[in-house]
């Protein structure tokens, strides 16, 4: 039972990551691609936090009478990664707005087409 639940956690993480990857590959719309990138990021966060879990432990806030704590190191890394991820997303969205202003479209095939026409 335990091993089934564990396999299910990993399967769900991989599934989330691959859904985001599929969105990034399959869709032409740049905003949609960024939403897919966000899904990939979130799945990596889940994977790290799963590794930091300690059975029977509590949150890493020191208190008398608690023996086992979750591993604080993945938490710190993921805190940093969340903030860096939103910074990257913001820059990507700004580029999307700029591209839409310049080309009148967010469709990457159409934009590539426009560029070829200019050449």
């Amino acid at each position: 039972m335990e091993s089934l639940l564990q396999a299910y956690h990993h399967l769900a993480v991989v599934f989330l990551m691959m859904t985001g990857f599929y969105i990034m590959v399959a869709y032409d719309n740049l905003v949609k691609k960024l939403i897919g990138l966000n899904l990939v990021q979130v799945s990596v966060f889940i994977f790290f936090i799963l590794m930091g879990k300690v059975g029977g432990g509590s949150a890493p806030i020191l208190a008398p009478g608690i023996e086992a704590y979750a591993n604080p190191l993945p938490h710190v890394l993921i805190l940093t990664a969340i903030v860096v991820g939103i910074a990257a997303t913001a820059l990507g969205l700004a580029l999307a707005i700029r591209i839409s202003r310049a080309c009148g479209s967010l469709d990457d095939r159409l934009i590539a087409h426009l560029e070829r026409d200019e050449d």
Partner: protein
């Protein structure tokens, strides 16, 4: 055990949200579903004993990033992503990569196994010494602000660079921005 069942339920819900995001052509609902999925993941982090990460994910992942996506959709005025043009190569790539990842994950150690080497070195040191060496009872705070303070400084640099980048890209730098706009009007 019950915590793992709760985690499975939350993961299932966010996977369902991800599937709907992959299938819908409406960008507005995709952005809102991505925010909802982030909120579910924040609840999952809380059940995995990571309250700090849960707060940050709820505020940044579910709040700020949804606002950014909605602002972009409003600013570009484009609410629909037309049907995927590379559906078959995307599915094949995702299935192959996903199978490889899951296959390698089968060798991973048990969830919550306290005897892992992962929980032994710096993590144990932080838990045992941070109260005496740094002070706050929250170990994550001590590590973020003191032991790994240089990393946090780097993070601040990244945010600063991204902010400057967004301003340059959107042409919000006062004079130069207006000059850029007028030159573009000239081209038209």
């Amino acid at each position: 055990m019950s915590g793992q069942l709760l985690g499975c339920a939350l993961l299932t819900l966010s996977a369902v949200a991800a599937v709907i995001i992959a299938r819908t052509d409406n960008l507005f609902s995709a952005a809102l579903l991505a925010g909802m999925s982030s909120l579910l993941v924040a609840a999952l982090f809380l059940s995995l004993d990571a309250p700090d990460v849960a707060f940050t994910e709820a505020a940044v992942g579910a709040g700020v990033s949804t606002i950014f996506f909605l602002t972009t959709i409003a600013a570009t005025g484009r609410q629909y992503a037309y049907a995927p043009s590379r559906r078959v190569p995307g599915l094949v790539l995702a299935a192959a990569t996903g199978w490889l990842l899951f296959y390698s994950m089968l060798d991973f150690p048990w969830l919550g196994d306290a005897s892992l080497a992962l929980h032994d070195h710096v993590a144990r040191y932080y838990i045992e010494h941070s109260a005496a060496e740094v002070g706050p009872p929250n170990v994550v705070t001590s590590v973020l602000a003191s032991y790994r303070g240089l990393d946090t400084l780097g993070e601040v640099c990244v945010i600063f660079a991204a902010g400057v980048g967004v301003m340059i890209v959107l042409g919000r730098f006062g004079h130069s921005g207006r000059a850029g706009q007028s030159s573009r009007r000239g081209e038209e």
